[in-house]
């Protein structure tokens, strides 16, 4: 195998980014390899393993886990189309067909190939090693090898759906029939500005520079606007004072869980024998959420400034930005920005002559949603499959990256730190509401006239204002049916329902968009991704799309989620295909119940909550599609295919009542 020198140089350079463990360089090396050779064979796996002093299985585990890595060549131009909810609602399934048609790809052929692969590859079965096509949506390649198309999960730009990637270039607002345009044009929308000015109800803090006229993402522009002044201010403070300011600000994590940031920082014991690390979680991937993308692409220095301040506060001298693999342009922008900051002396040895050293590196993921879970992210950064860790004992603040104290914060959260330094903790706490301070970037997608992002003071707008005022309401002649308020894992809220919050009864439209109220309404503010569904939507279809996402993204480490997520998806698949049975709604709910709260990480809840809430709130739609009588004990000769095909299914009946037999009693 011949490795060209420039590639070798890049590989050696990448390894230096991980002074603690070479293994961490696994993902970067796989990316470099695939960029150069197009795909990753077993031989490449062995080469990389040897380079990093690993066992080859350590690397094979990664290639088969992270969907962005390919073990077969793709077309010369590879098109990734987002399959997930908001894009699907905007026509991404049609877009995929259109792309295939324009590129001369026979999707049917590849679909068949996939189903064969799923049924066990005979050649592989006989060999020592095995791996089936499994998790990946298959890559379909055109006859001439010029194009390939792949359905991928959420590309985190739900507000401009449907979206796609042409090689590394991001494309948004692609019309469902614009296959031809998509594959021929080599342009990027990554830093394209929105024409609309901020809405008057907005309070632009973190998003101040997003879409700003004359704004660029380079450091001069940032410095001219007063950039890095807060950093200078912070370096005149004691680190403990910064932590206190953040505590005083009441800032809650913007990644999804809403954990108080200052409290998290407070868990770190400074001055211990182990180094402290800080990781920026830029693995934005909760469907419906698309805020970090804009910060990274348009205002990277804001994030870097916030990160440096945070590192100084928690005494971290090595930090990583874990950016999702689907943001290759974002990674480049961040790397450029870091180099600029380094050149200005904001990074590196002896920042501002303070004696404080700091290195920040960009680390790219490779298409796995689970890397957003902080301990999964840490495992991934250590060069492993992103299996979340058990807590206890592996709380990141104690046993994080390389078993050292580690802070993992979301992009938006770290940006907020900069503003807390600027306006003081008390000043920041004045924004929003008590216990729900600051601003929140709400990302709206789905069936509204003007989907997009809106930075508002937390709780300053209601759901109704968000939909009807900020987003211009629903499409012509449509009525609101449901809203997922905090990313696709958040429980769905049904229009027309009354929510009892404290002593008040609120309609869906009256719910203020803050952490506590949404929690009290039985859902969550989560990552701020609001997905709006109008009365044209089939709720079983909506849930099926979400189920497919979570089944695809389950890491498979622990039993309930690994088995349950795919089971739920298979049930909704069958129901949609016309094979619904009367017990399906109950089984769906029960399967979800058996996952939530029983798993290693919060993915269990994330994949169970949609099913629990959709079945609970839209039961009639599930029942309407689940007419067949096939409760257990079902005649064993019926397969799921037969259930779909047969108009009715006769099962054993109770001789006395004539109704289907109840499930056999358990002991």
């Amino acid at each position: 195998m011949i490795i060209p020198d420039p590639l070798l140089a890049k590989i050696d350079e990448a390894i230096t980014h991980y002074p603690v463990s070479k293994r961490s360089a696994s993902l970067p090396l796989l990316h470099l390899w695939q960029e150069h050779f197009g795909y990753i064979e077993d031989e490449a796996v062995a080469w990389i393993a040897q380079k990093l002093e690993l066992s080859p299985i350590n690397v094979l585990e990664l290639v088969t886990f992270y969907p962005m890595f390919r073990r077969q060549p793709a077309g010369k131009r590879h098109i990734r189309i987002c399959r997930t909810l908001s894009c699907a609602m905007a026509g991404s399934y049609r877009l995929k067909e259109a792309v295939a048609k324009a590129a001369g790809i026979d999707l049917e052929k590849w679909r068949r190939g996939d189903s064969e692969a799923e049924h066990g590859d005979q050649e592989h079965d006989a060999a020592h090693h095995v791996h089936n096509a499994g998790h990946g949506n298959p890559i379909a390649v055109s006859e001439d090898g010029n194009f390939s198309v792949e359905f991928v999960e959420c590309l985190a730009s739900c507000g401009s759906a449907p979206v796609a990637m042409v090689d590394d270039l991001f494309r948004e607002h692609v019309g469902p029939d614009e296959g031809e345009i998509l594959i021929r044009q080599q342009i990027s929308d990554a830093t394209r500005k929105k024409v609309l000015p901020p809405h008057p109800r907005e309070k632009r803090l973190v998003f101040k520079n997003i879409d700003r006229a004359g704004w660029t993402n380079d450091i001069e522009c940032y410095l001219n606007d007063g950039g890095y002044e807060d950093l200078k201010k912070a370096f005149k403070m004691k680190p403990e004072e910064i932590v206190d300011e953040v505590k005083r600000s009441g800032l809650r994590g913007r990644g999804g869980a809403g954990f108080p940031c200052g409290v998290k920082w407070g868990f770190i014991k400074r001055g211990g024998p182990k180094p402290i690390y800080l990781i920026c979680n830029a693995d934005e991937s909760e469907p419906g959420t698309f805020k970090d993308r804009y910060i990274i692409h348009q205002d990277p220095h804001q994030l870097i400034e916030g990160m440096i301040i945070s590192c100084f506060a928690v005494d971290a001298h090595l930090a990583y930005i874990y950016i999702r693999g689907e943001f290759p342009e974002g990674a480049q922008i961040l790397e450029k920005a870091l180099a600029e900051a380094q050149a200005k002396g904001f990074l590196g040895r002896n920042v501002f002559g303070s004696g404080f050293d700091l290195e920040i590196y960009v680390h790219r993921g490779a298409g796995a949603y689970i890397c957003g879970e902080e301990t999964g992210l840490i495992e991934s950064l250590e060069g492993k499959r992103a299996y979340p860790r058990i807590k206890p004992p592996y709380f990141p603040a104690v046993l994080g990256l390389y078993q050292c104290p580690t802070i993992v914060n979301n992009v938006e959260t770290l940006c907020d730190v900069k503003h807390i330094i600027s306006m003081g903790g008390t000043g920041f706490a004045k924004l929003g509401k008590p216990n729900n301070t600051g601003t929140r970037i709400l990302c709206v997608s789905g069936d509204v006239v003007r989907p997009g992002y809106f930075e508002v003071e937390v709780g300053s707008v209601t759901m109704g204002e968000l939909i009807y005022d900020l987003c211009g309401g629903l499409k012509e002649g449509r009525k609101l049916k449901a809203v997922i308020p905090g990313g696709s894992s958040a429980k769905v809220l049904k229009a027309g329902e009354k929510y009892k919050i404290k002593d008040k009864e609120l309609t869906l439209e009256e719910i203020p968009m803050d952490f506590d109220t949404l929690a009290a309404a039985g859902s969550m503010a989560g990552s701020g991704g609001v997905i709006v569904m109008d009365d044209s939507r089939d709720m079983v279809e909506m849930l099926n799309n979400i189920n497919e996402f979570y089944a695809h993204e389950s890491c498979g480490q622990c039993t309930p989620c690994r088995e349950g997520a795919l089971w739920m998806k298979k049930i909704t698949d069958r129901v949609l295909a016309g094979g619904g049975t009367e017990q399906d709604p109950e089984v769906l709910k029960n399967v979800a119940d058996n996952i939530a709260g029983k798993t290693i990480c919060a993915f269990g809840e994330a994949c169970a909550w949609p099913t629990q809430s959709f079945v609970l709130k839209f039961r009639e739609e599930f029942v309407a599609k689940a007419k067949k009588l096939a409760p257990p004990p079902m005649p064993p000769e019926y397969t799921s295919e037969e259930l779909i095909e047969h108009p009715t299914i006769e099962t054993l009946r109770d001789v006395r009542t004539g109704s289907p037999l109840a499930p056999a009693a358990t002991k």
Partner: protein, 557 residues
């Protein structure tokens, strides 16, 4: 636990299903439950491996002491702290007990969790129990009966995965049966230190695999089969050979090296089908090398010696012993030599010393050394299982085989005319076949034909290690017991009986009727065995020689 021990180890109070117990600090909750008689089912947890907490079978309810606002425990009416229960179930495999911890192992929530996990584990499982080698010792089967449900609600197509995959020369994978507990992966990383197993693909398609460049060919690979809780990993050697419930299991010890790993022999109707490790934390933990566990086929070799012979003619035992005694008594002591074996049991070695004394051949004996490479785990450099016993009983010097030069010289000079060999091929001592032909007589006790038995004047067919009782001392000085798993073939007899008869024929009656008598006589003479009997050795053995006293170059386990 005695009060002295309690003082040494800090004890904590733990409430398990309403009853308060005390456990030493550092006890895993799952182990504490077991000790309290409340078994918590588990798949991924293994006491000798790290805890990934992935199977979720050991979910229980836990709680910590309820605290007052000033963080003092709230004490209930019974004087014990009240417990604040955590609303979510918790895994019990990754957490140690702590003061005032509360545990519920059988609450409705726990029962629901187990039922749910069992269902999840079975939906994609092939349920091919009738033809599965694990059937009968499968945790999926066992916990299904105990904690599962009878009906299946799964109407979908199962996930297809590779079957009949050779992960290495000795281990076969059925990925559809696998529950992805990762015990095998962790064993290879943490114990065998050969990181070859991993998981490929993702989610429900997760599959155990190797990279083609590094397969599962470690000498410890079959331990993954032992710890696989289901039928995913099976022994290529054992699979489809025998239903496990037909196996008669015998506790004994391995004789392939001086480690003396504890094993279980599984046999049916006189045929051994498999050997598996038996837990002994002072010896082998719960592991066993593949080389050792698969080395049993020779026991059923059709060439096994089954008939006592004199000069090639079949004779009965009485005649064979009598002729052997005659030969020995007819020579002066300097014309005799005895080659003993480090594979003999202590009882056999003891009777051998009686024979040596009776024939006054105190310095004309030795054992054949066997050495190889130690692996730093369980394979010792000394491949004789009982060198320590031979040394203790005076059958060899500290350097086994050091007297063989004298033997060879004596045979070649014509001084030595008769050799007794107890299970050793004399060509291993440096003698050639021509030397053997020059001897007046060879009295050979053995189980399989070799160059020596071909020249034997008197041939005494004996028993293999798994066909006899007795004791051995491993390299760390631990006295352990062999037990009979199968009967010796044909007319072959127990070695100790042959030796006893020979000693009797040479020196007269000695009052030894049972092997227990031999041990008793030995215990009366050897201080290390004082107060012991075969039964007192127990299944796990007893330390009889201080570990430091054992020669370090061989003690590697």
């Amino acid at each position: 636990m005695s009060t002295e021990a309690a003082a040494a180890v800090q004890m904590v109070n733990v409430q398990i299903d309403g009853v308060w117990h005390q456990f030493p600090k550092g006890t895993r909750v799952i182990e504490a439950c077991s000790q309290a008689g409340k078994f918590v089912p588990r798949y991924c947890y293994h006491a000798k491996l790290s805890s990934p907490g992935n199977c979720r079978m050991c979910l229980i309810e836990m709680g910590t002491p309820k605290l007052t606002p000033d963080r003092k425990p709230v004490v209930g009416a019974d004087g014990k702290p009240e417990i604040a229960w955590i609303p979510r179930p918790q895994i019990s495999c990754a957490q140690d007990v702590s003061e005032g911890l509360g545990v519920r192992t059988d609450s409705p929530m726990v029962q629901e969790c187990r039922k749910g996990v069992m269902e999840f584990l079975l939906i994609n499982h092939p349920l091919d129990c009738p033809i599965c080698d694990q059937a009968g010792e499968c945790r999926l089967q066992e916990f299904s009966v105990e904690y599962g449900q009878a009906a299946s609600r799964f109407l979908e197509a199962k996930v297809k995965k590779p079957k009949n995959v050779e992960l290495g020369p000795r281990v076969t994978l059925d990925a559809e049966r696998c529950i992805l507990c990762t015990r095998c992966i962790r064993f290879m990383q943490e114990v065998a230190r050969d990181d070859v197993l991993g998981i490929v693909d993702r989610g429900s398609f997760n599959t155990i695999a190797c990279h083609p460049d590094r397969i599962l060919d470690s000498n410890y690979s079959l331990n993954t089969v032992d710890i696989c809780p289901v039928g995913a990993l099976t022994s290529t050697d054992f699979r489809f050979k025998m239903r496990v419930w037909f196996l008669k299991e015998t506790k004994t010890i391995d004789v392939n090296c001086g480690t003396g790993s504890n094993i279980t022999v599984g046999a049916r109707e006189g045929v051994i089908y498999r050997i598996t490790p038996r837990e002994n934390n002072d010896v082998n933990g719960v592991w066993l090398p593949d080389s050792h566990r698969l080395n049993f086929r020779y026991v059923n070799d059709p060439r096994r010696l089954k008939q006592s012979t004199v000069k090639g003619q079949s004779v009965d035992w009485r005649t064979a012993i009598a002729i052997a005694a005659e030969i020995l008594k007819s020579k002066s002591s300097e014309q005799l030599w005895l080659v003993a074996s480090g594979r003999q049991t202590n009882e056999e070695l003891f009777l051998t010393t009686r024979l040596i004394e009776a024939l006054d051949m105190q310095k004309q004996h030795d054992i054949v050394p066997r050495t190889g490479q130690a692996d730093g785990l369980l394979v010792a450099a000394d491949r004789n299982p009982n060198t320590s016993g031979a040394r203790l009983l005076g059958l060899c010097t500290t350097k086994p085989g050091s007297r063989f030069k004298k033997l060879v010289d004596g045979v070649r000079s014509g001084t030595i005319k008769v050799i007794v060999t107890l299970g050793e091929d004399l060509t291993r001592t440096g003698l050639t076949e021509a030397d053997l032909a020059r001897l007046e007589a060879i009295i050979a006790l053995d189980i399989l034909p070799n160059q020596t038995t071909a020249h034997a004047t008197v041939l005494l067919p004996a028993s293999a290690w798994c066909e006899k009782r007795g004791s051995m001392i491993n390299l760390k000085g631990r006295l352990q017991r062999l037990n009979r798993a199968v009967n010796p073939p044909g007319e072959a007899r127990d070695d100790w009986e042959i030796l006893r008869d020979l000693v009797q024929a040479v020196a007269g009656s000695n009052g030894l009727y049972m092997i227990e008598d031999v041990f008793k006589a030995m215990a009366a003479e050897v201080p290390e065995f004082a107060g012991l009997s075969l039964s007192r050795i127990g299944d796990l053995g007893i330390q009889v020689i201080k570990e430091k006293a054992a020669p370090s170059e061989e003690a590697t386990a």
